[in-house]
Symmetry: C2
Subunit: 242 residues, 2 copies
DNA sequence: CCGACCTTCAATGTATACGAAATAGGAGAA
DNA sequence: TTCTCCTATTTCGTATACATTGAAGGTCGG
């Protein structure tokens, strides 16, 4: 996708490369990430590669299957539900806070853009612009709320979300509905209605989750809807809690 | 305090040592953490120390003041408010989820223990047992909810919270009230009343935040207590005198 | 034939050497 | 005296060599 090798530290390069591969699915869940192997593959030494693995572990994208072997973390429908439970908590709080922030006025413009975007979701270019609009909207929310702790927590959620979205591509009808939901959220924030912003966010995330789970169930007909969705992978220990 | 050097990797040792020193205030906000200096002081080499610094940076406890210098992150009243905004979102969600979980029955016992603890907050030992009880309560909540994403986000919050608590010691009267609030939360969860659990959590965190900010205002009379945000410049350690 | 122990190997954990880049200090010129 | 430029030092970023540990396979004994 993007050339990220020039003018970047090797550790950062390794992190972004592995992140992209995990998010895109090039590195499937359960893949063993050995230090020497990955270091040679990416053309960096073990030191920066170790840094990258540690960062991915902190993000929750890789986990230590045993004290000596690191694997790409799996994601199943239950994980996605859990992720959305956290996402609801964070984004409802964000929406409510943004609605009462000083610079909430700019969100009326976002509402208009979402309305426009909803009309242009027929081609890839329109969809691409819509996703870019959502990214700018998220940035504007973070900036309006100005809470670094909240933003950091949301960053982790969004990182996992990229992976989930690639597992379950949105259907066109869902995209149109999603754009409408975003429009309402932006309107509510712009008009200072925190309750509406929070509740509209809740509804939006409910619908988004339902769409994703539905898409996964359709792709994996035999899997009951609370099992893992990464076929072929042996059950790596995920639930390490005692 | 605790000897953590035996049977532990050097990177883990360095992380815990620096974490404890930052949380306790031994390393004040704004302190420059140079790699060679800290590595020699802790008796490890630069490689594991770098790992520790990266982990602390991911936690938000240290930050890069410039591309070449890492410093202990500052915390002001605005940061504490932001931290509690996130904490409210996470703990209300946790309490509500725990109230509907299968193994919520054990929480009635917690309610009793909180009631007992409230009666024994006169001496250090009773207070110590109360804090330990809260820790077990948090663990039970995490286990009941069973959401690793939520637990991970809460872990970060709790890490910062240790620091905040050390900055603003609880007063005895507040502790008694806090125990009562915890008792109500535990009761609500035990009886399956998710709304009450969430609202009682909200009230508890409101009171806890007010107590902390009040304590800080008393210690730092000249610091205005409406430092809600720090626009433009990152917060730097300014709590040097007392 | 089976099991346990030992050896060997491979992978991670750690230390250190090397290289690059930024900053601070000094010297020279205006 | 002051500003600018150059140099030297310090610090981080990276690579690699060394240490350690866990696992796997083979062999020997029962």
């Amino acid at each position: 996708m993007t050339i990220v090798s020039e003018g970047m530290r090797a550790g950062e390069f390794a992190y972004r490369a592995l992140l992209e591969e995990i998010q895109s699915g090039s590195l499937a869940a359960g893949t063993v990430l050995a230090e020497v192997e990955q270091a040679e593959r990416l053309g960096v030494s073990r030191t920066p590669l170790r840094e990258a693995l540690r960062r991915l572990a902190a993000d929750g994208l890789v986990e230590q299957a045993s004290p000596r072997v690191t694997v790409v973390a799996g994601i199943d429908a239950g994980d996605i539900r859990d992720l959305f439970a956290l996402r609801r908590a964070l984004e409802e709080t964000t929406a409510r806070a943004a609605a009462t922030s000083a610079d909430r006025t700019g969100f009326a413009a976002f509402a208009e853009r979402f309305a426009e975007a909803a009309e242009a979701l027929d081609d890839d270019e329109g969809r691409s612009r819509y996703y870019a609009l959502i990214a700018r909207f998220d940035e504007a929310l973070d900036a309006a709320v100005g809470n670094d702790y909240l933003t950091a927590a949301l960053r982790t959620v969004r990182t996992h979300l990229v992976r989930v979205r690639r597992m379950a591509r949105d259907k066109p009808a869902r995209l149109v509905a999603s754009a409408g939901e975003h429009r309402l959220i932006a309107e509510a924030i712009g008009s200072g209605d925190g309750d509406l912003a929070a509740h509209a966010t809740h509804v939006h995330l409910h619908n988004a989750l339902a769409s994703i789970l539905d898409s996964l169930a359709a792709a994996d007909p035999e899997a009951p809807d609370d099992t893992r969705t990464t076929p072929g992978m042996p059950p790596f220990g995920k639930k390490a809690r005692a």
